[in-house]
């Protein structure tokens, strides 16, 4: 796929921070989910993965963050081959992953949840600074600081999760449907943060079902189907493609009625 293009602001042909090369992966004895998948995420870029349910998007992120070992293929982070390493090593190589669905620590307080986001950090001042930042970004986090996270509403939990992932500054961020369950206002905040991270030099691999919105934010887009990248290209081009819209982005609003 194309890695060096578009958006005149970024310099071309920068070395990608995350590369998945011809990856095959699957769960247990079931059939392979990813079959020869390749993705590259350059720095200062948001790559958006879209595709039908069950296409393997989450699986891609799991392989990238080391939660799932690929059966074949390579995972490269910032130039070094990290295939088969576990999540802790991946995190050390500068890669963070926010899971799909709900992954707060339900029986721990919001405070503990957020501080666990900084588990690898030792610098107290920095942690305090970050805490202040996420509390401001998501007011609910500050308001419910001492409450058990599992008692928050669905969307509030997602906010805590996102806040948790903002505690560190990774080189590569994998986001699995960060906007799911969030109200429109908060969704906007989340997408702002994604842009901010991108602008700070982070490579973002974003999976979204809110595909229009995501592609509007993203630089590059990949359409995943049957465990392979089906089509990829600049996000704007994908958005413009009538047929793709119909297939994967739900057509135009009201057009199905």
């Amino acid at each position: 796929m194309a890695s060096e293009e578009k958006d005149g602001t970024t310099r071309p042909a920068e070395r990608p921070l995350l590369v998945l090369d011809d990856v095959y992966a699957g769960y247990g004895r079931a059939a392979m989910v990813l079959r020869g998948l390749s993705v590259k995420v350059p720095p200062r870029t948001v790559v958006c993965l879209v595709g039908p349910n069950g296409a393997g998007k989450s699986t891609v992120l799991k392989v990238a963050s080391g939660l799932l070992r690929p059966r074949e293929g390579r995972v490269v982070v910032d130039g070094s081959d990290v295939t088969g390493q576990g999540p802790q090593q991946m995190l050390r190589s500068g890669l963070a992953h926010v899971l799909q669905g709900h992954s707060v620590f339900r029986e721990m307080t919001v405070e503990e949840n957020v501080l666990l986001g900084a588990y690898t950090l030792r610098d107290r001042a920095r942690i305090a600074e970050r805490v202040a930042f996420v509390q401001e970004l998501f007011p609910i986090v500050g308001e419910r600081w001492k409450q058990l996270a599992g008692l928050l509403s669905g969307g509030q939990q997602k906010q805590v999760e996102f806040a948790r992932s903002l505690m560190i500054d990774p080189k590569v961020v994998l986001l699995d449907e960060p906007s799911m369950g969030l109200d429109p206002k908060t969704t906007a905040t989340v997408f702002q943060q994604i842009t901010r991270m991108r602008d700070a030099g982070t490579a973002v691999l974003l999976v979204e079902q809110n595909a229009r919105r995501a592609l509007e934010t993203a630089d590059l887009g990949c359409v995943l189907d049957l465990g392979r990248v089906h089509i990829s290209g600049p996000a704007a081009e994908l958005l413009a493609d009538q047929r793709l819209s119909e297939l994967y982005l739900g057509g135009r609003p009201r057009s199905t009625a």
Partner: protein, 294 residues
């Protein structure tokens, strides 16, 4: 009941409660925090008591010194059990299957104890086993006081470890959402293993304390596991202070009831308390998390 007997029973109850507390502390750690129902905990306690007895018989040294060996040994065994066995269980059925798996471990320990040291009842023969001193008209046995002291000390350590260290945080996170914990950089397999090791280390301490003033035999653990389970439920699963308070209350209660009702009926106190707790306050009386939901 006259005053001295009442006070004597009270004193005995407090001392007994201390022992209950340390024996139950590990159990609440696995159960409340790690969601493993560790039926074999009492078996490990008895194993530790056997090792203390054996150590004393072989070396002639005070059985308390056996802890130098048993505490690290149990820690390692705990880590291994978690890393080799418990991790193999499916998360969906962890609670149920852990009951059966640890039941098997309990049987295994019982069987091996019987194999090596026979079913005979054993008792450490200490020169000071009958020593006692007066305390406001009651008598306190030296051995019981030592056991009580050990319990208090190790409970305090355990509490600090869980509440004040990063380890405690990491352990709880690991149990609640393993993948998410991995993704914030926690080495989940080691954390869970070490948590288990610590639980078993308390069994080593508790077992040694027990061995000072009790008779042991391989199947003894069955008579301990019931009361210990009741204590951790009443105290609130996962809550160490809760466990300590429940242990003291039930220990004193048992001690006092025994005078009026006799030992058999007095033992039902634990189960009555257990049922009442689950009916009225499933989260336990002294904090801790909801007992009924897993």
């Amino acid at each position: 009941m006259d005053g001295t007997l009442l006070f004597q029973s009270l004193v005995l109850g407090v001392l007994l409660g201390g022992l209950y507390a340390i024996l139950a502390a590990g159990l609440t750690l696995y159960f409340g925090v790690m969601r493993v129902v560790m039926i074999a905990h009492a078996a490990f306690v008895i194993l530790a008591a056997y090792l203390a007895w054996w150590f004393h018989r072989e070396t002639g040294l005070d059985p308390l010194f056996s802890m130098v060996l048993t505490v690290p040994l149990f820690f390692v065994i705990g880590v291994l059990i978690q890393r080799v066995l418990i991790t193999r269980l499916r998360p969906a059925t962890l609670t149920m299957m852990s009951v059966l798996l640890t039941f098997a471990i309990a049987l295994l320990i019982e069987g091996l104890l019987g194999l090596f040291w026979s079913g005979t009842q054993r008792r450490v023969q200490l020169s000071y086993s009958g020593d006692n001193f007066e305390f406001f008209g009651a008598r306190i046995a030296v051995v019981k006081l030592i056991a009580f002291g050990l319990a208090v000390l190790s409970l305090a350590l355990l509490f600090l470890l869980m509440k004040k260290t990063r380890f405690g945080l990491a352990l709880r996170a690991t149990i609640q959402h393993r993948e998410a914990a991995q993704l914030v950089g926690i080495r989940t397999d080691w954390v869970a293993g070490i948590g288990f090791g610590i639980g078993l280390a308390t069994a080593a301490i508790g077992g040694t304390a027990l061995s000072l003033d009790a008779t042991i035999y391989p199947s003894l653990h069955w008579s301990w596991i019931g009361p210990l389970m009741a204590i951790i439920v009443v105290g609130g699963l996962g809550s160490i202070p809760g466990t300590a308070i429940a242990a003291l209350v039930l220990g004193v209660g048992q001690s006092l009831l025994q005078v009026e009702l006799g030992t058999t009926w007095a033992q039902t106190l634990f189960y009555v308390a257990l049922f009442l707790t689950l009916m009225l306050r499933p989260q336990g009386f002294f904090g801790g998390r909801l007992a009924q939901r897993f």
